[in-house]
């Protein structure tokens, strides 16, 4: 059934704190992920699977790749007459400050989304921490508790500069939010539920502080607003730059971990393409890898993730790498510990190798 309790709001204009060839021409939200997805697919699919059919999507200045991928939201059932997907201009320079994902200015300038809604709640998400969550549970918990805001967190599994930690007091109340996480901290996963009327009040009362992140702006008022927390026990994967992108992708090369993110009853939806099934030729040799439709495998692939339309010619060897759309690894070439952005061609008998600690990254190639 269609969710009548909540609409959604997703910020896709986080631009990253560190430079990388991977996000020179695209926002982090449209980074390709696990062969056929982009990061933005995850928040959109979480919304869709909870029956949410009205979603505001805050676009970065370089919106082209998101627009091409998301279109009018049809693949997420958001191409509708009533509600549906609203692509909204965000701060064109994106947000680059650590922990800043919900710029108050973007919320205020798109207030019409919240004013027109009739649902009691709004689910707000970023696009950098991905998970496959039953949002209904969070909304129900929020409703039962009667609080103003419910912030979703996980127990951090590692040091994490870019995430925020929640300082939680009695009865799960959030006392403050601090920058950075260590192992065991309560890591905010950029997902919260808020009462819509409360959000409209905040929009009206905090307009002077619109250059701040939403949570920075309301930091002094947590008690009054009644900010509560909800621990999510599942997998949440934060991707903020090249290094975390590579490491988190490689960790998904274990089916048990992968299956936590890709569940048949809550599918991650993405743009459909017409690619033939992957074709393996006589003598090919692929192991411990994810291989997308449209690939042609003649050579060897180990511990790697291949997007649609990648060709690994015979005698070529790809290991511990992420190879994006339409790359060609020519005869006898070797790619190791590397990320190849789309359309790259690795010439015959050449090597392109990084080390586990220093991944090599090749930016987009020319269309071929």
């Amino acid at each position: 059934m269609i969710n009548s309790k909540a609409i959604g709001y997703i910020t896709a204009n986080y631009a990253g704190t560190e430079a990388s060839k991977l996000i020179e021409n695209r926002p982090v939200a449209s980074l390709p992920f696990m062969g056929r997805y982009r990061l933005i697919d995850f928040p959109l699919s979480n919304m869709t699977n909870a029956g949410i059919r009205t979603v505001g999507l805050v676009m970065p200045g370089n919106w082209r790749s998101i627009s091409d991928h998301v279109g009018h939201g049809k693949d997420w059932m958001l191409d509708r007459k009533s509600g549906g997907l609203f692509c909204m201009p965000g701060n064109p320079y994106g947000t680059t400050k650590r922990g800043m994902r919900f710029l108050l200015r973007d919320i205020i300038s798109n207030r019409e989304l919240f004013e027109r809604a009739t649902t009691p709640y709004v689910v707000m998400m970023g696009a950098n921490i991905i998970f496959n969550m039953d949002l209904d549970e969070i909304i129900d918990a929020h409703e039962r508790s009667g609080v103003g805001v419910t912030m979703v967190y996980v127990k951090a599994e590692r040091h994490h500069d870019d995430a925020s930690r929640l300082i939680i007091g009695d009865a799960g109340r959030v006392q403050s939010i601090e920058a950075g996480c260590e192992y065991g901290d309560n890591k905010f996963i950029d997902c919260f539920v808020i009462n819509r009327e409360l959000l409209l009040d905040i929009i009206n009362n905090y307009a002077n502080a619109d250059y701040l992140d939403f949570f920075e702006a309301i930091a002094g008022d947590f008690a009054r607003i009644d900010v509560c927390s909800y621990e999510y026990k599942g997998l949440a994967i934060g991707i903020f730059g090249e290094r975390s992108y590579y490491q988190r992708s490689m960790e998904l090369l274990t089916p048990d971990v992968f299956d936590q993110l890709f569940q048949k009853d809550r599918p991650i939806r993405t743009k459909a393409h017409d690619a033939a099934p992957a074709k393996y030729y006589a003598g090919s040799n692929a192991q411990n890898s994810f291989i997308s439709a449209g690939c042609k495998i003649y050579g060897t692939v180990r511990n790697s993730i291949l997007s649609r339309g990648v060709i690994v010619e015979s005698g070529a060897n790809v290991s511990n790498s992420i190879i994006m759309f339409s790359c060609v690894i020519k005869r006898g070439a070797r790619v190791e510990n590397a990320i190849l952005d789309k359309n790259n061609v690795i010439p015959e008998n050449t090597e392109y190798r990084g080390t586990p600690d220093a991944i090599l990254v090749m930016g987009k190639g020319a269309r071929h």
Binding site: M34, G35, R36, Y37, D75, P255, F258, F262, P267, I268, R269, T270, K271, A272, H273, D274, A276, P277, A278, K279, Y280, Y281, A282, G283, S284, N285, A286, Q287, N288, S289, F290, I291, S292, A293, G294, K296, I297, I305, L306
Partner: protein, 381 residues
Amino acid sequence: MSRKQCIAMLLAGGQGSRLGALTAKIAKPAVSFGGKYRIIDFTLSNCANSGIDTVGVLTQYRPYQLHEYVGSGRGWDLNEIGAGVSILPPYATQEGGAWYAGTADAVTQNLDYIKSHHPEYVLILSGDALYRMDYREMLATHITNNADLTIAVMPVPWEDASRFGILTTNEDHQVTKFTEKPEQPDSNLASMGIYVFSYDFLVNALEEDAINQRSSHDFGNDIIPKALADGKRLFVHEYNGFWKDVGTIASYHETSMDLLGENPEFDLFDTKHPIMSNDSTRPPHYIGPDGRVDDSLVANGCKIMGTVRHSIISTDCVVGDRAIVEDSVLLPGAVVKNGAHVSRAILGENAVVEEGVKLGSVDTTKDTAVVGNDVVIGKGE
């Protein structure tokens, strides 16, 4: 609306009983083929790649999955406003309901649909073969010859000609004779069951046929012989590309295997005439640390922990640890559990072969093993 040049009528109502267990619960055009496609994809893609924007799909036998799959036609870019794909099942009128009695009757009962588009030409297709054809070329042949009816033909080996409907032509490619399964063929041009009709001729021919009580209301048996007898202008359009029927278990298996190898005659990867489908959005397939895939097609959503050789593994299949699949076709969702061994078999959708079970034989003198949809093959079987 300005007059449309050409619309297509796709005959998709047959049971396909020669596909046995594969069509027990599903119409033949909706049967899975080639890892991620369904049989009707090939004909609908031909339509889209030929710039045809209006296709009536005539259904009758267990059409539910077919209707759901074809949907609005969006999968093939055939969702034009006021055109696109229309599903045309049998229906009731004031006089009661009437099932489609033959291929021609099915079209006759939908003459209102054809008339509402008022095209200059009507293309009649069936949805049970694997081929790539630009129907625009056939249409050009039809127009050049100022024909009433043009029949697509392909040359077959002379020794096989007596198994086909054979067309004899003069030097202008005009049809002089049509013989169903001739004992002594005088031509090797076999009808492919693909016709272009001029609108007025089609309407007249069908309306005359409808009131002929001795007619079986079939294009091959009735309409073509009558048209020849009446001295109408019938021509052939010769096609020399890949064309294979997938209407029997043997041909289904053989045609599937034809997709494999270095340079298959029918290349799914050909992007000039792409094969479109109503795609699901499943993740890439995973091949495990001990997985081994050789000379095969593997679709999205699969998990391959064992060995796959010279096979087609469709969407969401699982091949367990130490399992072996060879010379086989696994339809979507089929599972071969740990240690099982499947040879020269077709596993229906969501069929399961239990742990350690051996199914099928590499002996090509034996029939291909077929497991129906949702069937579980345990140790005892």
